[in-house]
Symmetry: C2
Subunit: 314 residues, 2 copies
């Protein structure tokens, strides 16, 4: 989902004002996929796929491929084989190109990490110097990718940045298996006249950014001066921290009581357990200083969804 | 080195007062190796080695195998292939035994991590909630092993503990390629009447524990109640924080001016760079609360070396 929105932005704006040739790789593309120079269907777990994908020395590599937290928790092997090992293969493939070019090729790699790298108990506001003690396999896999990217960058093989995305909200389209999916569902479904399930108490606090902001983070990370990172290449992204109740209030403001009435409260202890172990608020001072920008109120996040993704009523 | 001392302790004391059957695996054993039930020579990088080593469901597994920081920095591939991938293979082998036994087998794994998981800039006293931002490949590999062990433990496949060792001092025997080797060398060589090189200024602060303490940490970690770790299975070990000048003073007290005169100061910017990026002092409150004990003064560390490892003069 973010991938398609990133491609649309790259086609429209290029990078640093310059047009870019784009190769997109995914396990599947939607019917209305953004047209790009080369579209390759395949899995990141195929042997040799990374070598083929980077054979022509791309200047920028965006690595977003992952299975979501709920699926990685349910299928342990698939989680590690999808979320960790392909990142290693990609780094080794880029390093091989670096070495084949006598060291002149050193691409910018932008990796989508996640706030799931953190685990309870937390500081009140999680800073960029807080330990990564994830409580999901997904989080562990993201930490490990960050560490690999950091070391390959330190050695000068690549120039990597790992951005830790907050929950992306409102996700368009169908619900996926991410445990955080309901944060979008309780907004998206009612805006589309459909019932939504809220599996946690409305006092839960969480940090959100819109897909548009996520794309902005990715593009900003692509051109960031990485000398400013002082070797700490994993960055907590900014977002809107609010309670579920505040999300629901913003929905009421945007779409009225009949939308809110479509939210059905149905506690799911498994989801609540995962969400309880997620961080709530961040100190994003470092990201702000580096120029990353997100929404500041949840109502803006709803507005972005309405503008970008809500189908007009028939 | 620590491995042989651990074996001697296990042969002497067993674990929890009970005798243990011991299989030792290493790339080589010294002529005066501690006799154990089974001694296997081989590399942790051999395919299938971990499956064979854990085939009889050992109750305790101590994973100490690694190449040292200097070598992992010099040989990037060897570092990752030795320090990271075998840990993954070991975890998968243990998980396979866990599953083959219908979940009843859940061994205690004790892993030797390192304070090299931390990288500058530091807090004044590094706590257990400080981020792991290593500045060496060795440190990155140790962090990644910690994360894997944590996740396999969280899933219940194993019951792991990662202890972050400070520099082990005084290392007996020959110098190895560890960048921290001189911390031992400037004590060991003079005590044996041999010249030693000090490659950094004597104002450098570092934290040390004796090999005897390190063995104590390993044995304590083997029987620790891991419920007390609250899922945070990587623990900073205690040690003696002191300057190189204080080390030298303790040497003077133990062996006189003629020993100190054998230390030759010869700055090595490459070593200084690695050491500058290492942490200095730790807040070991958590380790202390969990019952881990180390020396409290550097003179005790010298005394331990003299008792355990110094050959009587001819």
């Amino acid at each position: 989902m973010i991938g398609q929105k990133l491609l649309a932005r790259l086609v429209r704006d290029g990078i640093d004002g310059a047009k870019v040739q784009i190769t997109a790789h995914d396990i599947a593309f939607p019917d209305n996929a953004v047209p790009v120079d080369r579209q390759i269907i395949g899995s990141v777990t195929e042997p040799g796929v990374m070598e083929r994908l980077v054979a022509d020395d791309p200047e920028y590599v965006f690595h977003l491929a992952a299975i979501v937290s709920g699926e990685a928790e349910a299928d342990f092997d698939k989680g590690w084989q999808t979320n960790m090992f392909p990142c290693w293969s990609l780094l080794q493939a880029l390093r091989a190109r670096h070495e084949a070019t006598g060291g002149s090729y050193r691409p910018r790699l932008v990796f989508t990490s996640s706030i799931a790298v953190f685990g309870a108990p937390f500081e009140d506001e999680i800073s960029d110097t807080f330990l990564t003690a994830p409580l999901t396999s997904y989080g562990a896999q993201k930490v490990i990718c960050e560490q690999m990217i950091s070391d390959f960058s330190r050695k000068g093989f690549i120039d990597g940045v790992a951005i830790r995305l907050p929950s992306i909200c409102v996700r368009p389209g169908k619900a996926n298996r991410a445990a955080a999916g309901f944060f979008s569902g309780i907004i998206r479904e009612p805006l589309n006249g459909v019932q939504a399930v809220l599996p946690v108490p409305d006092t839960v606090v969480h940090t959100h950014a819109s897909p548009r902001s996520a794309v902005g983070f990715l593009c900003h990370a692509a051109t960031l001066d990485t000398d400013r990172l002082n070797g700490r290449r994993a960055i907590n992204m900014p977002g809107v921290a609010c309670t579920v109740a505040e999300q629901i209030e913003a929905l009421r403001d945007a779409a009225g009581e009949q939308a809110v009435a479509l939210i059905r409260r149905e506690d799911d202890p498994a989801v609540a357990h995962i969400v309880d172990n997620w961080p709530t608020r961040f100190n994003a001072a470092r990201a702000h200083a580096l120029g990353f920008r997100a929404e500041t109120e949840f109502r803006e996040i709803i507005q972005t969804y309405i503008e970008e993704d809500l189908k007009p009523a028939q």
